[in-house]
Protein backbone atom coordinates (compact mmCIF):
# COMPACT_ATOMS: atom_id res chain seq x y z
CA UNK A 1 0.00 0.00 0.00
CA UNK A 2 1.85 3.01 -1.29
CA UNK A 3 0.93 6.31 0.32
CA UNK A 4 0.89 9.47 -1.83
CA UNK A 5 1.48 12.74 0.01
CA UNK A 6 0.90 16.30 -1.21
CA UNK A 7 -1.14 15.32 -4.30
CA UNK A 8 -3.50 17.73 -6.05
CA UNK A 9 -6.50 15.90 -4.58
CA UNK A 10 -5.12 16.08 -1.05
CA UNK A 11 -4.18 19.76 -1.37
CA UNK A 12 -7.41 20.92 -3.02
CA UNK A 13 -9.28 18.56 -0.69
CA UNK A 14 -8.36 20.50 2.44
CA UNK A 15 -9.78 23.66 0.83
CA UNK A 16 -12.96 21.71 0.06
CA UNK A 17 -13.25 20.81 3.74
CA UNK A 18 -13.18 24.53 4.63
CA UNK A 19 -16.19 25.38 2.44
CA UNK A 20 -19.11 27.12 4.08
CA UNK A 21 -16.81 28.21 6.86
CA UNK A 22 -15.05 31.29 8.21
CA UNK A 23 -11.27 31.64 8.34
CA UNK A 24 -10.20 34.24 10.88
CA UNK A 25 -7.05 36.37 11.12
CA UNK A 26 -5.40 36.06 14.55
CA UNK A 27 -2.26 37.62 15.98
CA UNK A 28 -1.92 35.72 19.27
CA UNK A 29 -2.60 32.37 20.93
CA UNK A 30 -5.42 33.98 22.89
CA UNK A 31 -7.13 35.26 19.71
CA UNK A 32 -6.67 31.87 18.02
CA UNK A 33 -8.49 30.17 20.90
CA UNK A 34 -11.32 32.70 20.73
CA UNK A 35 -11.61 32.08 16.98
CA UNK A 36 -11.71 28.29 17.44
CA UNK A 37 -14.29 28.57 20.21
CA UNK A 38 -16.42 30.84 18.04
CA UNK A 39 -16.51 28.21 15.27
CA UNK A 40 -13.76 29.25 12.83
CA UNK A 41 -12.84 26.46 10.35
CA UNK A 42 -9.23 27.65 10.32
CA UNK A 43 -7.13 30.54 11.57
CA UNK A 44 -4.64 32.73 9.73
CA UNK A 45 -1.64 33.35 11.98
CA UNK A 46 -0.29 36.87 11.52
CA UNK A 47 2.07 39.28 13.23
CA UNK A 48 -0.27 42.19 12.52
CA UNK A 49 -3.79 42.27 11.08
CA UNK A 50 -4.17 44.07 7.73
CA UNK A 51 -5.69 47.21 9.29
CA UNK A 52 -2.54 47.68 11.40
CA UNK A 53 -0.22 46.85 8.50
CA UNK A 54 -2.03 49.58 6.57
CA UNK A 55 -1.79 52.04 9.46
CA UNK A 56 1.84 51.38 10.34
CA UNK A 57 3.38 51.13 6.87
CA UNK A 58 6.90 49.77 6.30
CA UNK A 59 7.70 46.31 4.88
CA UNK A 60 5.26 43.60 6.00
CA UNK A 61 6.78 40.09 6.11
CA UNK A 62 6.00 36.51 7.13
CA UNK A 63 5.14 36.15 10.84
CA UNK A 64 7.70 34.97 13.41
CA UNK A 65 7.79 31.13 13.14
CA UNK A 66 7.67 30.96 16.96
CA UNK A 67 4.31 32.75 16.96
CA UNK A 68 2.98 30.51 14.17
CA UNK A 69 4.11 27.39 16.03
CA UNK A 70 2.56 28.58 19.30
CA UNK A 71 -0.77 29.08 17.51
CA UNK A 72 -0.47 25.66 15.81
CA UNK A 73 -0.01 24.08 19.25
CA UNK A 74 -2.90 26.00 20.80
CA UNK A 75 -5.73 25.01 18.44
CA UNK A 76 -6.93 21.78 16.78
CA UNK A 77 -8.23 23.43 13.59
CA UNK A 78 -6.01 24.04 10.52
CA UNK A 79 -3.56 26.93 10.75
CA UNK A 80 -2.66 29.11 7.77
CA UNK A 81 0.02 31.77 7.49
CA UNK A 82 0.96 34.41 4.92
CA UNK A 83 4.09 34.75 2.83
CA UNK A 84 5.11 37.63 0.58
CA UNK A 85 4.26 37.21 -3.12
CA UNK A 86 7.14 35.40 -4.80
CA UNK A 87 8.99 34.72 -1.53
CA UNK A 88 9.41 30.97 -1.89
CA UNK A 89 11.85 30.74 1.01
CA UNK A 90 9.28 32.11 3.45
CA UNK A 91 7.02 29.36 2.06
CA UNK A 92 9.75 26.74 2.59
CA UNK A 93 10.09 27.92 6.20
CA UNK A 94 6.36 27.60 6.86
CA UNK A 95 6.24 24.17 5.21
CA UNK A 96 9.18 23.09 7.38
CA UNK A 97 7.32 23.94 10.59
CA UNK A 98 4.27 21.99 9.36
CA UNK A 99 1.81 24.76 8.49
CA UNK A 100 -1.48 23.48 7.01
CA UNK A 101 -2.03 26.14 4.33
CA UNK A 102 0.01 29.06 2.93
CA UNK A 103 -1.49 32.34 1.75
CA UNK A 104 0.72 33.98 -0.88
CA UNK A 105 -0.67 37.35 -0.04
CA UNK A 106 -0.80 40.89 -1.39
CA UNK A 107 -1.38 42.04 2.21
CA UNK A 108 2.36 41.60 2.78
CA UNK A 109 4.89 43.60 0.80
CA UNK A 110 5.66 41.70 -2.45
CA UNK A 111 9.13 40.14 -2.68
CA UNK A 112 9.00 39.59 -6.45
CA UNK A 113 7.20 41.96 -8.80
CA UNK A 114 7.23 39.50 -11.72
CA UNK A 115 6.99 35.93 -10.49
CA UNK A 116 4.68 34.25 -8.04
CA UNK A 117 5.84 31.16 -6.16
CA UNK A 118 5.93 27.89 -8.14
CA UNK A 119 3.41 26.27 -5.84
CA UNK A 120 3.58 22.82 -7.49
CA UNK A 121 6.91 22.32 -5.71
CA UNK A 122 5.25 22.25 -2.31
CA UNK A 123 3.35 19.52 -0.45
CA UNK A 124 1.47 22.13 1.52
CA UNK A 125 -1.50 23.77 -0.28
CA UNK A 126 -1.56 27.49 -1.20
CA UNK A 127 -4.34 30.06 -1.41
CA UNK A 128 -3.89 33.18 -3.58
CA UNK A 129 -5.88 36.36 -4.14
CA UNK A 130 -7.53 37.28 -7.44
CA UNK A 131 -9.58 40.19 -8.74
CA UNK A 132 -10.78 38.52 -11.91
CA UNK A 133 -10.87 35.17 -13.70
CA UNK A 134 -7.55 35.65 -15.50
CA UNK A 135 -5.70 36.24 -12.24
CA UNK A 136 -7.46 33.29 -10.61
CA UNK A 137 -6.54 30.91 -13.44
CA UNK A 138 -2.92 32.12 -13.54
CA UNK A 139 -2.60 31.36 -9.83
CA UNK A 140 -4.20 27.93 -10.33
CA UNK A 141 -1.78 27.29 -13.21
CA UNK A 142 1.05 28.05 -10.76
CA UNK A 143 -0.36 25.43 -8.38
CA UNK A 144 -2.74 27.33 -6.09
CA UNK A 145 -5.23 24.94 -4.43
CA UNK A 146 -7.65 27.66 -3.41
CA UNK A 147 -8.55 31.17 -4.58
CA UNK A 148 -9.93 34.13 -2.65
CA UNK A 149 -11.02 37.54 -3.80
CA UNK A 150 -8.47 40.19 -2.98
CA UNK A 151 -10.95 42.83 -1.88
CA UNK A 152 -9.17 45.74 -0.26
CA UNK A 153 -7.65 44.31 2.94
CA UNK A 154 -7.80 46.10 6.26
CA UNK A 155 -10.48 48.58 5.21
CA UNK A 156 -13.60 46.98 6.69
CA UNK A 157 -15.18 47.96 3.37
CA UNK A 158 -16.83 45.19 1.37
CA UNK A 159 -17.07 47.07 -1.94
CA UNK A 160 -13.90 45.67 -3.52
CA UNK A 161 -14.61 42.05 -2.51
CA UNK A 162 -18.05 42.39 -4.10
CA UNK A 163 -16.50 43.83 -7.26
CA UNK A 164 -13.99 40.98 -7.50
CA UNK A 165 -16.48 38.19 -6.78
CA UNK A 166 -18.97 39.60 -9.31
CA UNK A 167 -16.19 39.93 -11.88
CA UNK A 168 -15.08 36.29 -11.52
CA UNK A 169 -18.69 35.02 -11.63
CA UNK A 170 -19.54 37.19 -14.67
CA UNK A 171 -16.48 35.95 -16.56
CA UNK A 172 -17.34 32.32 -15.76
CA UNK A 173 -20.89 32.82 -17.08
CA UNK A 174 -19.47 34.44 -20.22
CA UNK A 175 -17.22 31.43 -20.86
CA UNK A 176 -20.12 29.03 -20.38
CA UNK A 177 -21.95 30.78 -23.21
CA UNK A 178 -18.99 30.61 -25.60
CA UNK A 179 -18.47 28.02 -28.29
CA UNK A 180 -15.37 25.81 -28.06
CA UNK A 181 -13.54 27.72 -30.82
CA UNK A 182 -14.05 31.04 -29.03
CA UNK A 183 -12.19 29.76 -25.97
CA UNK A 184 -8.72 30.11 -27.55
CA UNK A 185 -8.95 33.87 -27.97
CA UNK A 186 -10.61 34.13 -24.55
CA UNK A 187 -7.68 32.26 -23.00
CA UNK A 188 -5.29 34.66 -24.68
CA UNK A 189 -7.23 37.67 -23.43
CA UNK A 190 -7.46 36.29 -19.91
CA UNK A 191 -3.75 35.44 -19.98
CA UNK A 192 -4.62 31.96 -18.76
CA UNK A 193 -3.89 28.42 -20.04
CA UNK A 194 -6.49 27.10 -22.50
CA UNK A 195 -6.84 23.82 -20.54
CA UNK A 196 -8.03 25.72 -17.47
CA UNK A 197 -10.42 27.85 -19.53
CA UNK A 198 -11.92 24.65 -20.97
CA UNK A 199 -12.20 23.21 -17.46
CA UNK A 200 -14.05 26.32 -16.25
CA UNK A 201 -16.51 25.96 -19.13
CA UNK A 202 -17.10 22.30 -18.32
CA UNK A 203 -17.48 22.83 -14.56
CA UNK A 204 -19.30 26.17 -14.62
CA UNK A 205 -17.03 27.28 -11.78
CA UNK A 206 -13.37 27.52 -10.82
CA UNK A 207 -11.67 24.12 -10.53
CA UNK A 208 -10.69 25.02 -6.94
CA UNK A 209 -12.55 26.43 -3.95
CA UNK A 210 -13.19 30.19 -4.16
CA UNK A 211 -13.51 32.21 -0.92
CA UNK A 212 -14.31 35.88 -0.36
CA UNK A 213 -11.82 38.07 1.46
CA UNK A 214 -11.01 41.71 2.05
CA UNK A 215 -13.31 44.04 3.97
CA UNK A 216 -15.82 41.61 5.54
CA UNK A 217 -16.88 43.13 8.88
CA UNK A 218 -20.47 42.03 9.65
CA UNK A 219 -22.63 38.87 9.49
CA UNK A 220 -24.55 40.45 6.61
CA UNK A 221 -21.26 41.08 4.75
CA UNK A 222 -20.42 37.37 5.03
CA UNK A 223 -23.90 36.30 3.88
CA UNK A 224 -23.73 38.77 0.98
CA UNK A 225 -20.52 37.17 -0.28
CA UNK A 226 -22.02 33.68 0.11
CA UNK A 227 -25.12 34.70 -1.85
CA UNK A 228 -22.87 36.09 -4.57
CA UNK A 229 -21.37 32.61 -4.90
CA UNK A 230 -18.40 32.49 -2.52
CA UNK A 231 -17.58 29.06 -1.10
CA UNK A 232 -16.70 30.58 2.29
CA UNK A 233 -15.17 33.72 3.81
CA UNK A 234 -11.98 35.07 5.30
CA UNK A 235 -12.40 37.72 7.97
CA UNK A 236 -9.25 39.70 8.59
CA UNK A 237 -9.42 42.84 10.65
CA UNK A 238 -13.21 42.77 11.02
CA UNK A 239 -13.30 40.58 14.12
CA UNK A 240 -10.45 41.64 16.37
CA UNK A 241 -10.83 45.34 15.46
CA UNK A 242 -14.41 45.27 16.76
CA UNK A 243 -15.54 45.86 20.35
CA UNK A 244 -16.81 42.29 21.02
CA UNK A 245 -14.71 39.88 18.91
CA UNK A 246 -16.12 36.64 20.35
CA UNK A 247 -19.76 37.52 19.78
CA UNK A 248 -19.08 39.00 16.35
CA UNK A 249 -17.06 35.95 15.31
CA UNK A 250 -19.86 33.57 16.35
CA UNK A 251 -22.40 35.70 14.50
CA UNK A 252 -20.35 35.72 11.29
CA UNK A 253 -19.99 31.91 11.49
CA UNK A 254 -23.76 31.49 11.85
CA UNK A 255 -24.49 33.95 9.02
CA UNK A 256 -22.08 32.12 6.71
CA UNK A 257 -23.91 28.80 7.25
CA UNK A 258 -27.42 30.30 7.15
CA UNK A 259 -26.52 32.86 4.46
CA UNK A 260 -29.87 32.33 2.74
CA UNK A 261 -31.99 32.82 5.88
CA UNK A 262 -32.44 36.57 6.61
CA UNK A 263 -34.28 35.85 9.88
CA UNK A 264 -31.25 34.08 11.30
CA UNK A 265 -28.89 36.78 9.97
CA UNK A 266 -31.10 39.42 11.63
CA UNK A 267 -31.08 37.56 14.95
CA UNK A 268 -27.31 37.05 15.11
CA UNK A 269 -26.67 40.65 14.01
CA UNK A 270 -28.33 42.09 17.13
CA UNK A 271 -26.21 43.95 19.68
CA UNK A 272 -22.78 43.02 18.39
CA UNK A 273 -21.25 46.24 19.69
CA UNK A 274 -19.11 48.58 17.68
CA UNK A 275 -17.73 47.31 14.39
CA UNK A 276 -14.36 48.30 12.96
CA UNK A 277 -14.47 51.86 11.71
CA UNK A 278 -13.63 51.19 8.08
CA UNK A 279 -12.15 53.24 5.27
CA UNK A 280 -13.76 54.70 2.16
CA UNK A 281 -11.70 53.14 -0.67
CA UNK A 282 -11.94 56.38 -2.68
CA UNK A 283 -9.86 58.11 -0.02
CA UNK A 284 -6.95 55.72 -0.59
CA UNK A 285 -4.27 56.77 -3.05
CA UNK A 286 -3.13 54.39 -5.80
CA UNK A 287 -0.01 53.32 -3.88
CA UNK A 288 -2.05 52.62 -0.73
CA UNK A 289 -4.08 49.96 -2.55
CA UNK A 290 -3.01 46.40 -1.78
CA UNK A 291 -5.16 44.70 -4.42
CA UNK A 292 -3.09 46.04 -7.33
CA UNK A 293 0.06 44.34 -6.05
CA UNK A 294 1.11 41.74 -8.62
CA UNK A 295 -1.34 40.35 -11.14
Amino acid sequence: MEEIFGSVKVKRGLAQMLKGGVIMDVTSVEQAKIAEEAGAVAVMALEKIPADIRAQGGVARMADPALVKAIMNAVSIPVMAKVRIGHFVEAQVLEAIGIDFIDESEVLTPADETHHIDKWKFKVPFVCGARNLGEALRRIAEGASMIRTKGEPGTGNIVEAVRHMRMVMDEIRKIQNMSEEELYVEAKELGAPIELVKEVKALGRLPVVNFAAGGIATPADAALMMQLGADGVFVGSGIFKSSNPRKRAEAIVAATTYFDDPKIIAKVSEELGEEMKGIDIRQLTEDELMQVRSE
Binding site: S7, L14, Q16, M17, K19, G20, A38, E250, A254, T257
Partner: protein
Protein backbone atom coordinates in the same frame (compact mmCIF):
# COMPACT_ATOMS: atom_id res chain seq x y z
CA UNK B 1 -35.66 8.03 -1.81
CA UNK B 2 -34.14 11.30 -0.62
CA UNK B 3 -30.65 11.59 0.88
CA UNK B 4 -29.82 14.70 2.93
CA UNK B 5 -26.30 16.04 3.30
CA UNK B 6 -25.83 18.03 6.50
CA UNK B 7 -25.00 21.49 5.12
CA UNK B 8 -23.64 23.38 8.10
CA UNK B 9 -20.16 23.51 6.58
CA UNK B 10 -17.70 21.35 4.64
CA UNK B 11 -17.66 19.18 1.52
CA UNK B 12 -21.44 19.20 0.95
CA UNK B 13 -21.73 19.53 -2.83
CA UNK B 14 -19.21 16.70 -3.41
CA UNK B 15 -21.49 14.22 -1.58
CA UNK B 16 -24.58 15.57 -3.32
CA UNK B 17 -22.95 15.14 -6.74
CA UNK B 18 -21.79 11.61 -5.90
CA UNK B 19 -25.28 10.52 -4.74
CA UNK B 20 -26.94 12.19 -7.74
CA UNK B 21 -24.53 10.40 -10.10
CA UNK B 22 -26.04 7.17 -8.77
CA UNK B 23 -29.52 8.31 -9.79
CA UNK B 24 -30.69 9.13 -6.26
CA UNK B 25 -32.09 12.48 -5.09
CA UNK B 26 -29.77 14.40 -2.75
CA UNK B 27 -30.33 17.73 -1.02
CA UNK B 28 -28.47 19.93 1.47
CA UNK B 29 -30.15 19.98 4.92
CA UNK B 30 -29.59 22.42 7.78
CA UNK B 31 -32.92 22.76 9.61
CA UNK B 32 -35.00 20.45 11.83
CA UNK B 33 -37.79 20.31 9.23
CA UNK B 34 -35.39 19.34 6.45
CA UNK B 35 -33.79 16.59 8.54
CA UNK B 36 -37.26 15.21 9.37
CA UNK B 37 -38.06 14.84 5.66
CA UNK B 38 -35.14 12.68 4.47
CA UNK B 39 -34.52 8.91 4.27
CA UNK B 40 -30.77 8.91 4.85
CA UNK B 41 -28.27 11.45 6.18
CA UNK B 42 -24.66 12.07 5.19
CA UNK B 43 -22.53 14.07 7.62
CA UNK B 44 -19.71 15.43 5.46
CA UNK B 45 -16.09 16.20 6.07
CA UNK B 46 -15.19 19.66 7.30
CA UNK B 47 -14.32 21.07 10.68
CA UNK B 48 -15.89 18.98 13.45
CA UNK B 49 -15.65 21.73 16.09
CA UNK B 50 -17.43 24.22 13.81
CA UNK B 51 -20.21 21.79 12.91
CA UNK B 52 -20.58 20.70 16.54
CA UNK B 53 -21.15 24.29 17.63
CA UNK B 54 -23.71 24.91 14.89
CA UNK B 55 -25.58 21.67 15.72
CA UNK B 56 -26.02 22.81 19.32
CA UNK B 57 -26.63 26.49 18.55
CA UNK B 58 -29.39 25.72 16.05
CA UNK B 59 -30.96 22.83 17.98
CA UNK B 60 -30.32 19.97 15.52
CA UNK B 61 -29.00 17.49 18.08
CA UNK B 62 -32.29 15.87 19.06
CA UNK B 63 -33.72 15.49 15.58
CA UNK B 64 -30.57 13.78 14.30
CA UNK B 65 -30.49 11.43 17.30
CA UNK B 66 -34.20 10.62 16.97
CA UNK B 67 -33.92 9.87 13.28
CA UNK B 68 -30.95 7.55 13.92
CA UNK B 69 -32.98 5.77 16.64
CA UNK B 70 -35.82 5.29 14.14
CA UNK B 71 -33.33 3.37 12.02
CA UNK B 72 -32.56 6.02 9.39
CA UNK B 73 -29.13 5.21 7.92
CA UNK B 74 -26.40 7.79 8.53
CA UNK B 75 -22.95 8.00 6.99
CA UNK B 76 -20.31 10.27 8.51
CA UNK B 77 -17.08 11.08 6.67
CA UNK B 78 -14.09 12.44 8.60
CA UNK B 79 -15.62 15.26 10.69
CA UNK B 80 -18.89 13.34 10.44
CA UNK B 81 -17.21 10.34 12.05
CA UNK B 82 -15.94 12.54 14.90
CA UNK B 83 -19.41 14.01 15.46
CA UNK B 84 -21.00 10.54 15.62
CA UNK B 85 -18.50 9.16 18.15
CA UNK B 86 -19.16 8.51 21.83
CA UNK B 87 -15.60 9.35 22.89
CA UNK B 88 -13.06 11.83 21.50
CA UNK B 89 -9.48 11.46 22.67
CA UNK B 90 -7.81 14.55 24.16
CA UNK B 91 -10.47 17.04 23.08
CA UNK B 92 -13.41 18.34 25.00
CA UNK B 93 -15.88 18.99 22.19
CA UNK B 94 -19.46 18.25 21.21
CA UNK B 95 -20.44 14.93 19.66
CA UNK B 96 -23.73 13.07 19.17
CA UNK B 97 -22.48 10.03 21.10
CA UNK B 98 -23.85 7.37 18.75
CA UNK B 99 -20.90 5.21 17.70
CA UNK B 100 -19.26 3.08 20.39
CA UNK B 101 -15.73 4.14 19.40
CA UNK B 102 -12.98 6.44 20.59
CA UNK B 103 -11.96 8.89 17.88
CA UNK B 104 -8.38 10.12 17.67
CA UNK B 105 -8.46 13.47 15.85
CA UNK B 106 -5.68 14.38 13.39
CA UNK B 107 -4.34 10.86 13.93
CA UNK B 108 -1.91 11.00 11.00
CA UNK B 109 -0.53 14.47 11.81
CA UNK B 110 -1.02 17.80 10.08
CA UNK B 111 -1.92 18.62 6.45
CA UNK B 112 1.51 17.59 5.09
CA UNK B 113 0.74 14.09 6.40
CA UNK B 114 -2.57 13.98 4.47
CA UNK B 115 -2.43 11.26 1.80
CA UNK B 116 -3.98 8.95 -0.76
CA UNK B 117 -3.69 5.20 -0.32
CA UNK B 118 -5.30 1.99 -1.62
CA UNK B 119 -7.37 0.32 1.10
CA UNK B 120 -8.71 -3.17 1.51
CA UNK B 121 -12.37 -2.78 2.44
CA UNK B 122 -14.51 -5.60 3.85
CA UNK B 123 -17.28 -6.34 1.34
CA UNK B 124 -15.48 -4.78 -1.64
CA UNK B 125 -13.58 -7.02 -4.04
CA UNK B 126 -10.95 -4.54 -5.33
CA UNK B 127 -9.05 -2.07 -3.13
CA UNK B 128 -10.62 1.36 -2.59
CA UNK B 129 -8.48 4.39 -3.42
CA UNK B 130 -8.95 6.45 -0.26
CA UNK B 131 -8.16 10.14 0.32
CA UNK B 132 -7.28 11.10 3.88
CA UNK B 133 -7.18 14.79 4.90
CA UNK B 134 -6.09 15.65 8.44
CA UNK B 135 -8.01 12.50 9.17
CA UNK B 136 -9.08 10.88 12.42
CA UNK B 137 -9.08 7.15 13.21
CA UNK B 138 -11.24 5.03 15.49
CA UNK B 139 -9.88 2.89 18.32
CA UNK B 140 -11.45 0.95 21.22
CA UNK B 141 -14.41 -0.29 19.16
CA UNK B 142 -17.42 -1.62 21.06
CA UNK B 143 -18.51 -5.20 20.39
CA UNK B 144 -21.34 -4.21 18.05
CA UNK B 145 -19.08 -2.09 15.83
CA UNK B 146 -17.81 -3.74 12.62
CA UNK B 147 -14.36 -2.65 11.43
CA UNK B 148 -14.56 -2.52 7.61
CA UNK B 149 -11.10 -1.09 6.88
CA UNK B 150 -8.02 -0.35 8.95
CA UNK B 151 -4.57 1.22 8.71
CA UNK B 152 -1.70 1.04 11.17
CA UNK B 153 -3.05 4.07 13.06
CA UNK B 154 -6.50 2.54 13.66
CA UNK B 155 -9.87 1.74 12.08
CA UNK B 156 -10.76 4.01 9.14
CA UNK B 157 -14.12 2.60 7.98
CA UNK B 158 -16.73 1.03 10.23
CA UNK B 159 -20.39 0.25 10.75
CA UNK B 160 -22.59 0.03 13.82
CA UNK B 161 -26.19 -0.92 13.00
CA UNK B 162 -27.53 1.72 10.61
CA UNK B 163 -24.56 4.07 11.05
CA UNK B 164 -21.51 4.07 8.78
CA UNK B 165 -18.39 6.17 9.31
CA UNK B 166 -15.18 6.63 7.34
CA UNK B 167 -12.06 8.61 8.15
CA UNK B 168 -11.42 9.11 4.43
CA UNK B 169 -13.31 10.95 1.69
CA UNK B 170 -14.95 8.83 -1.05
CA UNK B 171 -16.76 12.01 -2.18
CA UNK B 172 -13.44 13.49 -3.38
CA UNK B 173 -12.71 10.59 -5.72
CA UNK B 174 -14.74 9.00 -8.49
CA UNK B 175 -15.30 5.55 -7.02
CA UNK B 176 -18.98 5.33 -5.97
CA UNK B 177 -18.84 1.92 -4.27
CA UNK B 178 -19.04 3.19 -0.69
CA UNK B 179 -21.91 5.56 -1.49
CA UNK B 180 -23.63 2.60 -3.21
CA UNK B 181 -23.21 0.57 -0.02
CA UNK B 182 -24.84 3.38 1.95
CA UNK B 183 -27.69 3.80 -0.56
CA UNK B 184 -28.38 0.05 -0.32
CA UNK B 185 -28.83 0.41 3.45
CA UNK B 186 -31.23 3.33 2.87
CA UNK B 187 -33.18 1.11 0.46
CA UNK B 188 -33.54 -1.65 3.02
CA UNK B 189 -34.54 0.92 5.68
CA UNK B 190 -37.33 2.14 3.37
CA UNK B 191 -38.47 -1.42 2.62
CA UNK B 192 -38.92 -2.21 6.29
Amino acid sequence: MKIGVLALQGAVSEHINMVKSLGVEAIPVKTVEEIKAIDGLIMPGGESTTMGRLITKFGLENVIKERIKEGMPVYGTCAGMILLAKRIKNYNQFSLGILDITVVRNAFGRQIDSMEVDLQVKGLEDPFHAIFIRAPVAIDLGSDVDALASLEEGVVFLKQGNVYASAFHPELGNDPRIHKMFIESVKSFLNK
